[in-house]
């Protein structure tokens, strides 16, 4: 019984932390954007406007949850759940420290890939169910983009798998004790970062929800809590990719002096902030440029990386 309780507690802790972090990230992003764009951002509620997050949540929860009459209702409701649940599920297999992990899975990395690939459905079905041409276009773009970038996301990680000799995330981190994989797998790191940005539909790869062209893309018709779930899903994605980069390339919790969980937190936060910086600084490419870039540049590079790694290891 105690065992079960421990598991539940751990799940609650991870869930709370991650969701809270995602929520907090929305505030951090707005503040940082304000800073970089030479303005304030939200600064009225609480110290530095931190409570703005809570205010937004209250607003979103309190809003009327509209289900338009023309939508495909079951799918419409399912879509945001998929978008959030798949990402949250991955956190179950992440080793935050050497001994703090909800579930140790031999194929943890594959699980991550599986869940990210399932996450497409959230966007895709959301766009489809909305029965709206902007949403549909956004969803189609998203599907094409995600499927394309997934291909070399998996390939770029294979170098790491080769070096660690395991799909187990914990083993991968432990394999970096001497040297973080960010050095031997520098190319893989860059590829994975780009793919990660694309997977989480962040700028500059947010074509599926490009507001200039498609109003709000696949979640045009969504409002209230369902919109909040999509919204949160995006930031969960940012955190997840940051955590994965940390685990796979920057030694996870490994680090001197400071406690391991803090190392993990610091590294992850750094990459999350990097995402924000990317949003602030990079322009958005055209859609066909995005696809061409994925297939014609990234895929060959990923294959090259895999080949070279394999040759070196042999």
């Amino acid at each position: 019984m105690a065992e079960w309780l421990a598991i539940v507690l751990r799940v609650a802790l991870v869930l709370g932390t991650v969701v809270g972090a995602a929520a907090l990230l929305t505030w951090i992003e707005r503040r940082l954007l304000g800073l970089w764009q030479d303005r304030y951002g939200p600064n009225r509620v609480g110290p530095f406007g931190v409570f703005q997050v809570i205010a937004d949540m209250i607003k979103l929860i309190g809003k009327e949850d509209v289900v338009p009459p023309f939508v495909d209702k079951p799918v419409y409701i399912l879509a945001p759940a998929i978008a959030m649940a798949t990402l949250l599920l991955v956190f179950a297999v992440l080793p935050f420290t050497a001994d703090f992990q909800i579930a140790e899975l031999n194929i943890g990395l594959l699980f991550f890939l599986a869940m990210t690939s399932l996450a497409v459905y959230g966007v895709l079905l959301g766009g489809y169910a909305s029965n709206n041409k902007y949403a549909l276009l956004g969803a189609l773009r998203s599907a094409a983009q995600t499927v394309s970038y997934e291909v070399f996301m998996g390939l770029s990680l294979l170098g790491v798998v080769l070096q660690a000799g395991s799909f187990n995330l914990r083993d991968i981190v432990l394999a970096q004790e001497g040297l973080w994989f960010c050095l031997p797998q520098a190319l893989g790191l860059v590829l994975f970062l780009i793919a990660g940005v694309a997977e989480s539909h962040r700028l500059p790869f947010d074509l599926p929800e490009a507001e200039h062209e498609l109003t709000a893309g696949y979640h045009t018709e969504y409002s209230g809590l369902k919109f909040a779930m999509f919204f949160l899903g995006e930031y969960l994605g940012v955190i997840l990719i940051s955590a994965m980069v940390t685990l796979l390339f920057f030694g996870g919790w490994l680090g001197p002096v400071l406690p391991p969980w803090l190392w993990f937190l610091l590294k992850t936060t750094f990459f999350a902030l990097l995402f924000v910086l990317l949003r602030a600084s990079l322009p958005r490419p055209r859609y066909d440029q995005l696809m061409a870039f994925g297939w014609k540049v990234m895929l060959p590079l990923a294959l090259l990386n895999l080949t070279v790694t394999g040759l070196v290891l042999l």
């Binding site: 799918v75 399912l78 899975l105 194929i107 594959l110 690939s117 895709l124 599907a143 094409a144």
Partner: protein
């Protein structure tokens, strides 16, 4: 744990039945994805985690996405659902259903007649599969790669032709 197997299997079959009988293509596809996830879970339970992961990543994550993609691209709307309902009605059901039922009965009879007690499945992990693939099955892997290449070229060719046709039509 046996109970979990049966529950998953029943979910898979029920979802499969919905795939076959559904009239909305996207809903049917979602049911198919459920079936696939259930099968993946069964793989996992059988001690084949690698197969389970592949089932999700490739089957559910890529192939099915492609199908959803195409369905959305064709975007047939409500008329298609009505049409599908029309096509599904009538006596057309019974023949194929009987065929499938007979086949199932036969195989079930064969399987049950073969006896076989409960066997403890032994787990086989990814590296073992990899060694088998690049060991005795190397030729099959090469053939599969040729097949994929052929499919790639074929699909590319077909879509190219379509584009050419589209250009000539006003």
């Amino acid at each position: 744990m046996q109970a979990l197997f049966y529950i998953t299997a029943i979910i898979a079959l029920a979802a499969a039945a919905r795939v076959v009988t559904g009239v909305n293509a996207v809903h049917a596809l979602l049911h198919l994805i459920v079936t696939l996830l259930a099968v993946a879970l069964l793989f996992f339970m059988l001690g084949a985690p690698f197969a389970a992961a592949l089932e999700i990543i490739i089957y559910a994550g890529a192939i099915m996405v492609l199908m959803v993609f195409v369905i959305m691209m064709l975007n047939q709307g409500d008329a298609a659902v009505e049409n599908e309902r029309l096509w599904l009605s009538g006596r057309l059901w019974w023949g194929p259903a009987a065929l499938a039922a007979i086949l199932l009965a036969e195989t079930s009879y064969l399987v049950l007649a073969g006896g076989g007690s409960g066997v403890e499945p032994r787990p086989v992990d990814g590296p073992a599969v990899g060694r088998a693939l690049y060991g005795p099955y190397l030729l099959a892997v090469e053939l599969a790669s040729i097949l994929l290449m052929a499919a790639l070229v074929g699909a590319f060719h077909l879509s190219r032709k379509l584009r050419g046709r589209g250009r000539t039509q006003p």
